[in-house]
Symmetry: C2
Subunit: 210 residues, 2 copies
Amino acid sequence: MFPPERYQSGMSQTETKRYHHGDLRNALLRAGMEIIERDGLARLSLRALAAAVGVSHTAPKNHFGSMKGLVTAIGAQGFRKFAAEMRNGLTQASTRKERLHAATLGYVRFAQGHPELFKIMFSPDHCDREDTAFKDAAQESYRVLIEISEGLAWDKSEAPNAQKRTEIMLWSFVHGYATLLNAGRIDDRADGAPPPGILDIMPDFGYLDR
Amino acid sequence: MFPPERYQSGMSQTETKRYHHGDLRNALLRAGMEIIERDGLARLSLRALAAAVGVSHTAPKNHFGSMKGLVTAIGAQGFRKFAAEMRNGLTQASTRKERLHAATLGYVRFAQGHPELFKIMFSPDHCDREDTAFKDAAQESYRVLIEISEGLAWDKSEAPNAQKRTEIMLWSFVHGYATLLNAGRIDDRADGAPPPGILDIMPDFGYLDR
DNA sequence: CACTGTATATTTCCATTGGAAAGTTATACG
DNA sequence: CGTATAACTTTCCAATGGAAATATACAGTG
């Protein structure tokens, strides 16, 4: 952070400290996200966070209730970034296959670029899945998956939930790859060769022409 | 636990407490596993664990070094059970397809039956992946995956790592499914219908006749 | 403007936790 | 028998999340 410890937005450095922060909720979210992305969730404490923003360690409770509430809010932000990352590049893709590949690469790219955040987002231990904002943000991401798999012809059966099966099949595959990669379970095969990229092992989903 | 709190194996109840436990390492492993499976990792504390076994809260340090060392040892045990679960039923399978399905079902069954343990086993935050015993146990599980995917003809290319691609493809798929299922991400689709089983969405891997 | 309720933030206090350090007891081995 | 070492205990500490009571700012309302 640029101005040292107890600086607060809108407060000149000579000016005496304000009682009200003014934008504490957002400041906590930003600082919390920063700590998580840089040092990992294990290093995030309410006290360190509060200190970074210049408030007492119980101040976050007003806005987030508890540690879990804070992390849930950060996780929700994560899901919004996640959806954006997947949608990014989707516009330039013209064919269904290109769109599938773009979204898939976005999924993995986000997971690798934000490993701690990614982990938190999918961990019910850390995020409250009943939280409305969180649910909405997660749904926003899931919608991308739905849109992508709508064009796929992988499951040709007539059963009513064929579409759903396709979604879960695709999701399982991509999510598993990203998770194993982040857990260091893929790249440490003995031969030292680089691990296959996700497109190298993508199952053939087939594409509807319509 | 049957005999109350401070009982130690081989100690009659009237007898005064022994200084040396005798089999502390295994007792801690068993009690730790029990707590994790029943109450989750979050509820496991060195103090509670030590109390359950009847020793001081610093006693575990002699055998495991730290909390992470203890959890790593439990994770290793998990991987051994995991391999056994996958191999179980494998013997009765005659065809390659049956073997694939049996192992896959074993993977998911273990994950669902031991959600906390499964989570820990694949979390570098909780298990030390450099630990020798842990690595060996994990490898034991991975070997099952290798054996299974050796019979698959999914990746027909001649490239030298085609076999490896098949393994990772299969692993990603199964692991993703199990992970998402345990995270409650699959079964809570709106329509209330039961989620597809893993065999319902298994990609077609094809089988070598040899 | 004064008054008051409510949101925001602080201070103080507490139980719990993992671990470090030093001391105690048993065991193994010469 | 005696001594090194392994196995445990006791004591101490800093860090953490949170509860409770208090202080400060602010937004309406009369």
